[in-house]
Amino acid sequence: MAESKTKYDRQLRIWGEQGQASLEKASICLLNCGPTGSETLKNLVLGGVGSITVVDGSKVEIGDLGNNFMVDESSVGQSKAKTVCAFLQELNDAVKAKFIEEYPEKLIQSSPSFFSQFTLVVATQLVESSMVKLDKICRDANVILIFARSYGLTGCVRISVKEHAVIESKPDHFLDDLRLNDPWPELKRFAETIDLDTADPVVHKHTPYVIILIKMAEEWAKTHDGNLPSTREEKKIFKDLIKAKTIASDEDNYKEAIEASFKVFSPKGISPALQQIINDSCSDVNSSSSDFWVLVAALKEFIANEGGGEAPLEGAIPDMTSSTELYVNLQQIYQAKAEADFLVMEKHVRKILKKIGRDPGSISKATIKSFCKNARKVKICRYRLIEDEYSSPVHLELQKYLTDEDYCVAVGFYILLRAVDRFAANCNRFPGQLDGEMDEEISRLKTTAITLLNDLGCNGSTLTEDLINEMCRYGAAELHAVAAFIGGIASQEVIKLITRQFIPMSGTFIFNGIDHKSQLLLL
């Protein structure tokens, strides 16, 4: 155990012990272990995922030596799944690695129940028809699915799961929860014990800005009918009032107060994003609801009642210039309120669980606490079925992408990746794979693409000649560097999905290896 702590030290600092534990419990299935699949799994094996099963029916060929790091000369002629599995195992002996020498298409067709045993399936280099079938299988079995594909200098990644709830979203820059615009009684009382206009200059410059702003906001409200500064003029005057209180030029606490004054002006209550989650039909819980929605239902109750329109207090405060004593006291006051809010939330959770016929103790204190701390930041991610997206993409978005300078190459590749699958379904090979006759290939691909655009209701739209030529030039080649990039993206999303930390990408990621102007398409 101590060994794994040091081995995984760098990544433990990101997703913590719980995240690592989730990874170690996960079982991943890889379909096709060409460069894209191998690179995806390589990153997951290094990360310490619990077990992997590699499914591929092909044998290692000489051509594979030029683009797949998980095969070598001595393995030519052998099962690719077996070879890749062995090399992956070498990277981390804590991972349980298995292989199955079988074509994924066969399993998708004749053994759909095979996939139910996994936490997540990484499906690489599949064509449209297989993708659609597999998508339905995984949706029914409640298995997370992620598609990844490399094609010349382009490629794509797409998650497919009905619903993925994230409590620990850990966004980069999120406003702290200081409630300067609406301090609760204990915080107000504490602020009252402090005299901003103390004669002692050392004390004066070590008064934390939280106190400064609370007191000044209160004073303002007294002379403004109970309102806080709202117009531009008022906000400026408020800042000037703070400035006027400084008695020396090196008072960092007052500088911080001026910089943070916007926290006083910010509107009370919850964000529109959180409001949307609260209003979601799933928050109307019953016995089959997930724990997440039970927590949201409790949050709804809290906000409407004890919270007075606010979510439970997060409890943490940022560092700020202050005397140690005042800072530690302030920390304790915030922590006490967060704890009190948590206890109220816990009561709501237990009550709701009972009401829907579940064991009131079935959601742990730790989970409820984590939810309270992260309440303002929780996220729900939903993904359309591939079949739905493919048959009826969001028309408005598609039109926008086709005509937007920043998106037209990406959406061009998106259309072409589907067009080449149609081409292959008709001609049993991808465009450009035959030597010579390039002009014919280009024209055939162009026709296929235009037909597809028409099917999607975009008659009249077209793709540039350059892009169609490019796609034929690629000849469906899997370049290692591109596969490594796609594999990196895919593996990163897998980690977010399994640890349930950080927010996974939405839509389809289209890679542009020409100028790196990749895009996310929300169709």
Binding site: D9, A484, Q492, S518
Partner: protein
């Protein structure tokens, strides 16, 4: 596991050559500053996987040092030594290409880097508030009080343990929670959290660009890619512009002097020059 302790360059070279036949990798287990300039001038392209601003500055100066301009202030193609640079931190990373004389060099865009976090000494000495303050107090102040002369070795577990227990004592004194051994290491060593997937993404981008530059098979990145996987997935390409007056990669200013000029006259001439206002 028995690779641990051996030089990374040697192990990596050996492994890759074992796996990919026909490729030739020569490992050099040394600091980049210890190589003579003509070592670097031999290469057609330099790819960087460095971990500090200083190291990047150094190699940037070396590569840009090879650059020569013609009389019209255009870069001489045969003296241009392109570089591909990548870096990561947690879920974020960047990849960029530097073509001295055409794209900005590392110094042209040095303002991109956020200032390093340094706690004010008075906070550490008098008003600590966070666990990190207590740790840095033990590391930067208490250590030299007690171990005068002997410098702190971040790789020594005993030294680290000492800093940790001192930090705990200080934290207890001030009632500050949160000091752990792991945090101590993180703060003192400035450990950057790292994950395989981000490294894979950025190194793949760098490899792809290097292949494109060397083979000419496609347009290249122009010229700075940032990646952020914290909230969803964001990639952005920015075309930064060269600073024409960059001291490292710029053509400099042409000043003509008479062979007979004295040093004093030259300095006067410089002072009067239009760009020295």
């Amino acid at each position: 596991l028995d690779d641990v302790g051996k030089p990374k360059a040697e192990v990596a070279a050996k492994r890759v050559m074992e796996r990919v036949s026909g490729v030739n990798i020569t490992p050099h287990f040394s600091r980049i500053e210890d190589k003579p300039l003509d070592f670097y001038s031999d290469f057609s392209i330099i790819v960087l996987g460095l971990d500090s601003i200083e190291a990047r500055s150094y190699i940037n100066a070396v590569a840009c040092g090879f650059l020569e301009y013609d009389d019209d202030d255009n870069p001489r193609e045969e003296t241009v030594k392109p570089m591909v640079d990548g870096g990561t931190e947690g879920f974020k990373g960047h990849a960029r290409i530097i073509v001295p004389g055409t794209t900005p060099c590392f110094e042209c865009t040095i303002w991109l880097f956020p200032p390093q976090v340094k706690f004010p000494l008075c906070t550490l000495a008098e008003t600590p508030r966070t666990a990190a303050h207590c740790i840095e107090y033990a590391h930067l102040i208490k250590w030299s009080e007690v171990h005068s002369g002997k410098s702190f070795d971040p790789d020594s577990p005993e030294d680290m343990q000492w800093v940790y227990s001192e930090a705990v004592k200080r934290a207890e004194l001030f009632g500050i929670p949160g000091v752990t051994y792991s945090l101590t290491q993180g703060v003192v060593k400035n450990i950057i959290p790292a994950i395989a997937s981000t490294n894979a993404i950025i190194s793949a981008a760098c490899a792809l660009e290097t292949l494109k530059i060397v083979s000419g098979c496609s347009k290249t990145l122009l010229n700075y890619l940032t990646y952020n996987g914290v909230e969803g997935l964001h990639t952005k390409v920015t075309e930064f512009v060269r600073d024409k007056e960059c001291l490292v990669c710029g053509p400099g200013i042409l000043i003509q002097v008479d062979k007979s000029v004295t040093l004093k006259k030259f300095i006067d001439q410089l002072e009067d020059h239009a760009s020295c206002s």
